[in-house]
């Protein structure tokens, strides 16, 4: 069954001479019904006074099984009517003499139920719906359904984050674990104050080969790329329970030099020009530690950097493909910004820069970074994509952060300072990481993760308010969450097959 959006007739033609039935029908769908279908079919309505529960349990259960006929639509002239009655759970025809009802001719598309009702359901409910019957399963699996479902999720105000708690044990003998779990943590954001405030375990799995405790997630449309402290990258869609280990990428020599807690992040995004999701990672062929060169007054580093892209949903599994080399060294401490057009990586040698990798032309260019005071960069700086915009949080001073935003586009970036935030009750001498996660529907409330706590921060005033204490809510002991939180996004996107 194909799923299509119902016909929209924004500019219906005028039919002065047609009778009204014809007029309706032609307006509605452009399907010209013959005179037989256009007969008047008066409907006799009964007052519904039966309680809903009773109605479902005791009345609807006796309805005729129309699904059979619906399936053989070729042989059924009346499948439109059957479908509506099927949809509506209305008693039809002679089987129920108490409530004779003859349905009016209609041009409701067969797939109204799938395209208009099921489309609003979360992935988990849809998994159950696939068990209902064959036609539902086929409808939900259709690429048009998956795309529309994703687009509706994109348009929905964000209401929760996805947390991947990892117990932080600084012991080389316990650097890996076989478990990984994804929790959905609801946010209590006005005006859509969550009714279910308890976190929910969305998906967990065991990976016998082990996953390093330190990971770094990035996300796009519900696909979460989980990088590790090795060259292994996982991609997961927690909403559908798909978890895939990508083939090992080119070895990143940076991993041999940095501390064992560093999981260089990868970028994940949607290449709209090729209709594919792609994961991108940088790697160092040779890596020397950066040092401050007194002669030039700049940072310097001996390095040879490469960059590769893995296209998801390619028949045969796909492979990492080399791109042009990045023009500058990329720093693994800072998460890239993944937008609909490009990936933005941060580089700090010899001077701080932003490097853009365009998804369309697959080429690098240097773009403007926020005009921080004196062009300063701090290893605690963080970046994110927020509602289509680029966000750069500069750790300007102890417990003080400057939130910069820029529009994403083909041109160079024009940054503007949205607010200055002073952390309330900050402990002196402690380094705080201010990770921007998402912006609420009002366009003003920025949700950020600091330590194990989610805060809401007003972009207008810079005031902070605690939203969720994740360590307490998830009851999973001490863990470092700052790097382990992304927005929650419900989608049916498959990792291995292009089902969209």
């Amino acid at each position: 069954m194909s799923v299509r959006r119902k016909h929209r007739s924004s500019d219906p033609p005028c039919h002065n001479t047609l009778d009204q039935d014809h007029l309706f029908i032609s307006h509605l769908s452009g399907i010209m019904l013959g005179p037989n279908n256009n007969q008047k079919r008066p409907r006799i309505l009964a007052a519904t006074t039966i309680p809903d529960d009773l109605l479902i349990a005791e009345v609807l259960i006796h309805l005729p099984a129309k699904q059979d006929k619906w399936k053989h639509r070729g042989s059924s002239l009346d499948h439109d009517h059957l479908f509506i009655s099927h949809l509506c759970g209305i008693m039809v025809g002679p089987n129920n003499q108490k409530r004779p009802r003859i349905l009016a001719p209609t041009t409701i598309p067969d797939d109204l139920l799938i395209a208009e009702v099921l489309i609003h359901l979360p992935a988990k409910s849809l998994a159950r719906c696939r068990c209902v019957c064959r036609s539902w399963r086929a409808g939900i699996a259709a690429a048009a359904f998956v795309r529309r479902h994703r687009d509706l999720s994109r348009a929905r105000p964000p209401s929760s984050v996805l947390a991947i708690p990892r117990r932080n044990i600084n012991d080389p003998n316990h650097a890996t674990t076989t478990e990984i779990a994804f929790h959905r943590v609801p946010l209590l954001l006005p005006p859509h104050a969550a009714t279910e405030a308890a976190p929910e375990l969305v998906f967990e799995m065991t990976w016998p080969e082990g996953i390093t405790r330190a990971v770094h997630p990035t996300h796009c449309d519900g696909l979460v790329a989980v990088s590790t402290t090795t060259d292994r990258v996982f991609v997961c869609n927690p909403a559908t329970g798909e978890f895939v280990a990508l083939p090992l990428g080119t070895h990143n020599a940076e991993l041999d030099h940095c501390d064992s807690q560093l999981a260089p992040p990868v970028a994940i995004g949607f290449d709209q020009w090729r209709n594919r999701y792609v994961v991108a990672r940088y790697f160092y062929r040779t890596y020397g530690d950066s040092f401050f060169d007194d002669d030039t007054g700049e940072w310097a580093q001996e390095y040879d950097i490469g960059h590769e892209v893995f296209t998801l949903g390619v028949a045969g599994g796909g492979s990492w493909e080399l791109t042009d080399d990045p023009p500058h060294a990329i720093i693994g401490a800072q998460r890239p910004i993944c937008t609909r057009r490009a990936f933005y990586w941060h580089s700090h040698v010899p001077t701080p820069r932003l490097v853009r990798f365009g998804l369309r032309d697959r080429a690098f260019e240097v773009v403007a970074r926020p005009p921080t005071t004196g062009g300063e960069w701090n290893p605690l700086d963080d970046m994110a994509e927020l509602d289509g915009k680029l966000c750069y949080v500069h750790a300007a001073a102890e417990a003080e952060f400057h939130v910069w935003m820029a529009d994403d586009g083909p041109d160079d970036l024009r940054w503007s300072l949205r607010c200055r935030v002073h952390l309330p009750d900050a402990v002196p001498m402690l380094n705080y990481d201010f990770l921007p996660v998402l912006v609420a529907d009002d366009g003003d409330t920025l949700v950020t993760c600091i330590g194990n706590t989610l805060y809401r921060c007003s972009l207008q005033s810079g005031t902070m308010e605690q939203v969720v204490d994740m360590e307490r809510q998830l009851q999973c002991g001490p863990w470092s969450s700052t790097d382990y939180v992304v927005p929650y996004f419900d989608s049916l996107l498959s990792i291995t097959a292009c089902n969209y």
Partner: protein, 186 residues
């Protein structure tokens, strides 16, 4: 000829009077009459907009033989509430963008509007909204039905929607295993 001419004039006058009216009268399948603001009807229903533009609105009640009085009452109620819920300045601009706008979450009054409906009334309203080309009302009613389905087991869904399970036992077991994660809290 004289008579015909007079008739024509009367027809003209009637049409002018009709065009001047700011409401339209709709007639349900069981003959009940409902008045609704012409502006709201034209803005919210592509079908009524077409009829108003085409001059095929009947002053004595435009027959909507496919819609029962209960559903039509809800349609009219929705149109009137919708007309009140939007500041008048926004009316004109929204008339064009309405049908192409992406789905927006139901507003508080829309939630209340569908929450009070029985299953039957809700399903009738879906049908009426689809028939009249009322995009927003269709979105809101379908969204409500989808909310009713959340957390229901396949058996419960089949029951509500009266769907026959056309899988074999083996197939169903296979799908269930494939989707085991979706049944954690069953």
């Amino acid at each position: 000829m004289e008579v015909d001419k007079g008739k024509g004039e009367a027809e003209e006058t009637r049409k002018v009077a009709e065009a001047d009216r700011d409401t339209v009268t709709l007639k349900s399948s069981d003959g009940k009459l409902f008045e609704v603001s012409k502006e709201a009807a034209a803005r919210l229903s592509t079908v009524l907009a077409g009829m108003i533009a085409g001059g095929s609105i009947d002053d004595n009640g435009t027959d909507l033989k496919q819609i029962g009085s209960e559903a039509l009452e809800n349609v009219v109620d929705y149109c009137n509430k919708h007309a009140n819920s939007i500041p008048s300045a926004a009316l004109i601009s929204s008339s064009i963008s309405f049908n192409t706008a992406p789905f927006k979450e139901p507003e508080e009054w829309e939630r209340k509007f569908v929450d009070r409906l029985s299953h039957d009334a809700l399903f009738d309203l879906v049908e009426a909204a689809n028939f009249l080309g009322m995009e927003r009302l269709l979105d809101v009613t379908c969204h409500k039905i989808s909310e009713m389905m959340k957390g229901k087991s396949p058996d419960q869904i089949r029951e509500v929607f009266n769907i026959k399970n056309d899988y074999t036992k083996e197939e169903l077991e296979e799908i269930r295993q494939e989707l085991a994660w979706a049944f954690y809290d069953d």
